[in-house]
């Protein structure tokens, strides 16, 4: 093969590689624009109701972290959100959790969380959650217990 031919082949190869990289990047963006978010809402208290079986395997971590005697599942909400699309999940006490994916940073989804109570936001946070990772958010009082919501996501 002549030198000029090698040059041509190399140029073509580089172009194709660049194109392939571009497409791979694009596919990442396209697919990352779909976020599967699950919100598991639990009310933990010192009552004697025990553990709600529906909570499943997550209970071990909760029991290891908190000293509540009762963990009751309130609801489990699945949301499939596009980039910058806000999804709402009901929380006990007339609260609403809104989640907005803001983007992807490496292997983490950048999520904006806001808790609304009586129509106004009383807590906002921006987190970077690992793909297939979970965050446990809790604290707001509900009756004699506290609200704990576990947010997991995959993209």
């Amino acid at each position: 093969m002549k030198k000029s031919e090698i040059k041509v082949v190399l140029t073509i190869g580089k172009t194709l590689l660049a194109l392939a990289s571009f497409f791979i990047l694009m596919t990442n963006i396209v697919y990352a624009s779909q976020f599967n978010v699950t919100i598991t809402t639990i009310v933990a208290s010192h009552g004697n109701k025990g553990v709600d079986r529906r909570i499943g395997g997550q209970i071990k971590e909760l029991q290891a972290s908190f000293r509540y005697s009762s963990y009751q599942l309130v609801n489990k909400t699945h949301k499939r959100l596009a980039l910058n699309q806000t999804g709402n999940a009901p929380l006990p006490g007339g609260r609403v959790l809104s989640i907005t994916p803001l983007g992807v940073a490496g292997n983490r989804a950048k999520l904006k969380l806001a808790v609304f109570k009586n129509g106004s936001s009383n807590f906002q946070t921006v987190i970077q959650l690992l793909n297939n990772g979970r965050i446990i958010v809790g604290g707001p009082q509900h009756g004699s217990g506290v609200i704990i919501f576990i947010i997991s996501n995959s993209f």
């Binding site: 970077q128 690992l130 446990i136 009082q141």
Partner: protein, 176 residues
């Protein structure tokens, strides 16, 4: 005694010379030839022609070297085979094939990436298989970039086993 009142048809004589007549006919012609000098001459002329023709061919083809011919044929076969191989190589490595093949390979890589992402990110099975236990990861499951609101306390913790991030806050009007 009647002798040679007829002659053998030349075309029949030609067939007789070639051994292409029936046995009884051949016998009849043979008998006639022994008695008929004209037909015998015609027959001999056929034989002379045959031998002259064969001499003519052998004389003119004697200069041809059969071994050289054989070598030439084999050389041509080898050359053709080489050309065929060369052609195959050229076709395989020509730009006409190389470029579309590279393009096809790129498309396949892209498709693979698409399918990989599609399968492993949008179905339950593979996701579970790919899910790395958070305990095995040194980084926290979540990084808190910012927080704001009507809160009294905000704590960031980790679960003891899987090191999942815990974000704990108290609403402002709540008793802590």
């Amino acid at each position: 005694m009647q002798k040679n009142l007829y002659h053998i048809e030349p075309i029949m004589l030609s067939q007789f010379a070639d051994g292409e007549v029936k046995p009884d006919e051949a016998e009849r012609i043979r008998q006639h030839l022994s008695d008929c000098p004209d037909c015998r001459k015609a027959m001999n002329d056929n034989l002379f022609l045959s031998s002259h023709f064969n001499n003519y061919i052998s004389l003119n083809t004697s200069a041809i070297n059969p071994s050289a011919l054989e070598t030439k044929v084999l050389e041509k076969i080898h050359y053709k085979n080489e050309i065929l191989l060369d052609k195959i190589k050229r076709i395989l490595f020509s730009d006409k094939i190389l470029i579309p093949t590279s393009a096809m390979a790129s498309v396949l890589v892209i498709l693979f990436c698409f399918s990989y992402q599609f399968i492993y990110r949008n179905s339950d099975g593979p996701v579970n298989r790919l899910t790395v236990p958070t305990s095995a990861v040194s980084a926290p499951s979540a990084i808190v970039d910012s927080f704001s609101g009507e809160t009294t306390t905000v704590m960031i913790m980790e679960t003891p086993h899987s090191h999942e991030t815990i974000l704990w806050y108290n609403e402002k009007n709540e008793k802590v």
